[in-house]
Amino acid sequence: MIINGVSIDETFAEAFPMKATRAIITAQNEKWAMISAQAMTGFATSVIACGCEAGIERILEPSETPDGRPGVSVLIFAMGGKGLAKQLETRAGQCVLTSPTSALFAGIDEGLQIPLGKNLRYFGDGYQIAKKIDGKRYWRVPVMDGEFLTEATTGRVDAVGGGNFLVLAESQPQALAACEAAIVEMKKLPNVIMPFPGGVVRSGSKVGSKYPALGASTNDAFCPTLKGITKTDLSPEIESVMEIVIDGLTKEDIDKAMRVGIQAVCDLGAANGIQRISAGNYGGKLGPFHFHLQEIMA
């Protein structure tokens, strides 16, 4: 399959099941909601070493938030429920409770309920106040700027992590420009995050390593500088490969995100140095969710 001169590999991206939740951070204005959200989702690029993958889903209008203030919705993904709950609580406590004027609400009502502010309330040292409003429990924790308002729990749902595609280009700037264009389009969609810095990964990995302590290592088949010395998957003109990783609440959400992302890359086309689109395929070793590139773009 070729779109605008870009060859779409007959391969698939492999993804794996995760647990996810959404939190809504509001603040006096969008600036402070975003500061809190950025802190909460910081160092959350890969479950390999961060404990979770998290990202900003979108900015919320005041009319969309529980307290009528500007807000930001955040998605957090982890390999298991316990890990997710721990990461959510740690990050909420360090990055939202501490952030001026912030409040924290559940972004998913359904599913198993996991603590959001349920345990953060103890920061109130006995002065915290519970309020049950319309069936939801809130905690009012006295803090130095007034009160930190938080919902007690949020819903945890099954999700999919690790959807991806690779952009193969003739130069590093061209690969990055294509990925940036893809991220702009993908960020318009709900229910997905691209957890890596700016949404783009330059260190795509393969499963396993020559070093027994490591579970993943550099994807040498797609490393341009190793073209001559490894079993490469790159043609001579490819000088740079970048990956976009997508976590989504459902497989369909990732399907949609991959479609718009790949389309944005293909819109730049061969004229801008984009040669191929491929995907992280690990021969079934990584996970049960398969995203076939040509089916998605058909």
């Binding site: 002065y127 049950k132 409003i133 809130y138 009012r140 007034g146 308002l149």
Partner: protein, 270 residues
């Protein structure tokens, strides 16, 4: 199906316990069974069809007509469905109510909503003393749900209240929120003496400045983030509380009762 309607034929001299006439108890009964129910009337029994003219068939939608102030226990422990009462009611209106909707078009007596657990109880007229309170000797009053009163309420509204929301459009008598354990009472009108007496936790939300005892301490003026959410939750009610113009988030906060735990608050609109 039309609502199962009980129309009073003639008011009785003695009080009547009408607690058997609630949706969940009448669910699978025929009209003949219902009319044969015997109600306690003073020290004697009275058949339902002696006291009421019964019509309609939908037992999950009950209406009382020409109700009078000696009908006690209307809507006792209501578990589901809807009940509407035209006229007045006696004591224990909606006592121990668990779910559903209970509406009074007129006035109710003592202990309305007492030990209520859930659901929506609306009183379009006035309520007597001990609204949402605990029965004498019991430690916990209303434990959940919403009570909406469009008129005034008597003394000790919310006495020993444990959880839930009480919305009063009119005035509240003395000892409003006394011995309250938790929950929210909002009063648009005036409040009497001894507001929040021995109150442990919970919120009294007031539109008018109260006469507070020395055991409530001024914590200053604040903009509280939970108030818009609270007022938004009132928007579904047929009440002044649903109007945007009555909502506020700027309050003077008083903490107390310092003679008790001191974790309660009185919030007064600024």
């Amino acid at each position: 199906m039309s609502a199962l309607t009980f129309t009073v034929k003639q008011a009785t001299q003695q009080r009547v316990d009408v607690s058997p006439l609630v949706c969940h108890l009448l669910k699978d009964m025929t009209l003949a069974d219902i009319t044969a129910i015997e109600l306690q009337n003073g020290k004697r029994k009275i058949r339902v069809d002696e006291l009421f003219e019964v019509s309609g068939s939908d037992s999950q939608n009950i209406v009382f007509r020409k109700s009078f102030a000696k009908l006690d226990f209307i809507g006792k422990e209501l578990e589901a469905g809807s009940m509407v009462v035209h006229g007045d009611a006696g004591a224990y209106f909606g006592i121990g109510m668990k779910s559903g909707k209970l509406t009074m078009e007129g006035d109710v007596g003592l202990y309305a909503a007492c030990e209520m657990k859930n659901g929506l109880l609306t009183i379009n007229g006035n309520a007597g003393d001990f609204l949402g309170a605990a029965l004498p000797g019991n430690k916990q009053g209303m434990k959940g749900g919403t009570v909406l009163v469009k008129g005034n309420v008597g003394q000790r509204a919310g006495d020993h209240m444990r959880r839930g929301t009480m919305l009063i459009e009119g005035d509240a008598g003395d000892y409003c929120g006394a011995r309250m354990i938790a929950g929210t009472i909002a009063v648009m009108g005036n409040t009497g003496q001894f507001l929040g007496y021995a109150m442990q936790r919970g919120t009294l939300l007031l539109w008018k400045a109260p006469q507070l005892s020395a055991t409530f301490n001024d914590c200053g003026s604040h903009t509280l983030a939970f108030l818009p959410i609270l007022f938004k939750s009132f928007s579904k009610f047929d009440s002044k509380f649903a109007e945007q113009s009555v909502a506020f988030n700027r309050v003077q906060r008083y903490g107390g009762d310092m003679a008790e735990k001191g974790r309660a608050e009185v919030l007064v609109k600024l």
